[in-house]
């Protein structure tokens, strides 16, 4: 094993020599030269690992596990939409509206149905518009 291989092993298995695979440890322990080189590399690697550990890390919310467990209970209680069963209907609706994409699509469909079912009956023609405007000017004692 040469210095380059020793460095590669350091990258792969870290500064804790006891964590290295047995075959490499045996090779190094059998050579005084490698052992002395290893000591230098280990002290360098420990410094480097210390720097790696300085990387930013934010802990998760302590309630994350419980939140996942609670969500899973909700998700398993999602029945098919059942009109016959009142509580099933309510839970079905809760499930439905808990999902933004589904609830947006539902709102859009309801909007379209209402829009087409009750169209605006008042039609606004150019003539009417002109009449209104003339009336307005007349009322204000302006022209005409």
């Amino acid at each position: 094993m040469d210095m380059s291989q020793l460095r590669d092993c350091m990258s792969l298995y870290g500064a804790q020599f006891s964590d290295w695979p047995e075959q490499f440890r045996a090779q190094i322990e059998g050579s005084d030269h490698l052992k002395s080189q290893l000591q230098v590399l280990i002290s360098e690697e420990l410094q480097f690992e210390q720097m790696l550990l300085s990387r930013t890390f934010e802990q998760h919310n302590p309630k994350l596990s419980q939140s996942i467990i609670d969500q899973s209970l909700l998700s398993h209680e999602q029945p098919a939409l059942s009109v016959a069963n009142d509580s099933g209907l309510i839970r079905g609706l809760q499930y439905f509206f808990a999902r933004p994409a589904l609830s947006m699509a539902a709102t859009l469909v309801v909007g379209l149905i209402l829009g087409y079912s009750f169209p605006v009956e008042q039609e606004f023609t150019t003539e009417e518009s002109f009449d209104d405007y003339s009336q307005l000017l007349y009322d204000q004692d302006d022209i005409l």
Partner: protein, 188 residues
């Protein structure tokens, strides 16, 4: 019952989860949330997104536990690391394009360092240097160094051969060492 569950292996718990045993699922969540969150956070550097990903991964597992194939000899953690990692990579793809090159610019922008690196500078340097590693190298580093996963398990998680994984890990650490050295030299 929960006391008994705590002594079961992850794989035994998964057998119960496949029978819709919710306490077994809860045990898995309690046991492993921090572990999978850590990988997600180190992949995304975003606390909220990482929490969402871990939640999504566990809920997918609960809704469809049949995705876990019994008897393949795989470890639960290897399989679930894969799921978490895939969700993180999908999230990253939506957020930004993948780096085009495997190359790593060793030039440092933290000029103005006149003395040895302070703690904040060190943290800033490492955050920046690691974020600029190609995604595969960063994942190898996250799994092997930060998550203390064995090289073979990391290779399984990433779907690579052991040699390919080791090559990524060596390149990641060499790039980072070069980067640190060049910065310390400037600070010198």
């Amino acid at each position: 019952m929960n006391k008994q569950l705590s002594v079961l292996s992850d794989e035994d718990l998964m057998d119960l989860v496949q029978q819709e045993h919710h306490p077994a699922f809860s045990e898995l969540v309690t046991r492993h949330t921090s572990r999978f969150y850590a990988l997600a956070y180190r992949t995304l550097s975003d606390k909220v997104a990482s929490e969402d990903i871990v939640q999504e991964a566990f809920l997918k597992l609960w809704r469809d536990p049949s995705r876990w194939q019994v008897g393949r000899g795989a470890k639960f953690t290897t399989w679930f690391y894969q799921i978490t990692l895939n969700l993180c990579l999908d999230h990253n793809k939506k957020k930004k394009p993948l780096p085009l090159s495997e190359g790593f610019d060793v030039q440092d922008e933290t000029s103005g360092l006149e003395t040895r690196l302070g703690e904040n500078q060190q943290q800033h340097l490492m955050d920046k240097a690691i974020s600029e590693l190609p995604e595969t190298q960063r994942t190898a580093l996250n799994l092997c160094f930060y998550e203390r996963v064995s090289n073979q398990q990391a290779a399984d998680i990433m779907g690579l051969s052991l040699k390919a994984l080791q090559s990524l890990l060596i390149r990641a650490k060499t790039s980072l060492r070069d980067r640190v050295r060049s910065t310390i030299k400037r600070a010198g």
